[in-house]
């Protein structure tokens, strides 16, 4: 009788520990550290400086007129759903550091009238390249065009991605950045914030 009772307890233990582990960790970024700059020219260490918060990150370049603004809009919609909460940080990280200087990112942020807990990050090309590799975001120049003022402008093919980091800098959700219905992201965040 005693051994049967112990078996029962073991089964209950296995059941509850296997069912309440939270979302699967896709990538652990807690051992990574990237020195980046925000739109105000302030130094930031990603993801270290955001530990203790959920971080919703979109990957963009500001010369992208269609897909990247959709990614940014989706982040803004999520932010609005939560009424700019203190425990969630929103980030747009550029994969085009050559053109997306802090000043350019500041202007870009200004287009969307964003709150303080929404930052845009850039860095030197090497750092951005390493950061993008670590989150499996790909980008490449697709074609260039010569403008009427004889300046060359290039466009990029790129991963279309939004991801969510938990408070320990672990990637727990990834989405198609421009096409994912915002309420999917909101519901996932609500689930983990409970």
């Amino acid at each position: 009788m005693k051994s049967q009772f112990l078996s029962f307890i073991c089964i209950l233990f296995i059941f509850f520990t296997s069912c309440n582990t939270g979302p699967k960790v896709i990538d652990d970024l807690s051992d990574k550290s990237f020195n980046v700059i925000n739109q105000n020219g302030e130094s930031v260490t990603f993801p270290d400086d955001y530990q203790g918060k959920y971080v919703v990150v979109g990957f963009i370049y500001t010369n992208c007129p269609d897909i990247c603004p959709l990614v940014t809009q989706n982040l803004i919609k999520v932010q609005k759903e939560f009424n700019s909460p203190d425990d969630i940080q929103f980030l747009g990280i550029t994969f085009d550091p050559k053109r997306d200087t802090p000043e350019v990112l500041k202007n870009y942020k200004g287009l969307f009238n964003l709150d303080d807990n929404f930052d845009f990050l850039t860095a030197d090309s090497t750092t951005i390249s390493e950061l993008m590799d670590s989150v499996r975001v790909r980008s490449q120049v697709s074609f260039t065009q010569v403008r009427e003022d004889d300046k060359e402008v290039y466009f990029m093919n790129h991963s279309d991605k939004i991801m969510v980091l938990d408070k320990k800098s672990r990637v727990i959700f990834e989405y198609g950045g421009s096409m994912t219905p915002v309420n999917y992201i909101v519901e996932d965040l609500k689930t983990v914030r409970k």
Partner: protein, 149 residues
Amino acid sequence: MKTSVVLLFTILLFSGCGDEPKKNPPQKSESDKIKNWARPGVQGQMSGAYFVYKNPLSSADTLISVYSPQAMMTQIHESYTTEDGLAGMREKKEIVVHSDETLVLKQGGLHVMLMNLKKDLSENDSVEVALEFTKAGTVKLKLPVKNNK
């Protein structure tokens, strides 16, 4: 007792554990409601514009160029997914619009590329766009600038 334990285990295993949270259907975004608009932009940078146009002619027509006085260079582009799964963009030199067909330029698809803006585009401004068709000639549109979030 043994049977009860096995039964309880089975019930627990198949109830609740591993259930995906039910997701609500996608919400209709602002972009679905606003059809003719342009995105805000910074001088010297890019912007995009969107519209719908129904071909009123009894035969097919072809959009061959687009012009806007607010940009140094204007083209029709199309967002698409490349073979290796990246988000890409390519120029569309011509678009055939059949009789009674509606040409739809919207986010994530066809769009007007406004390159090297001559001045900032802010909400409440408007963008003038001239579409050049082979048969209908020039069609002028005035698109309000919306912060479409």
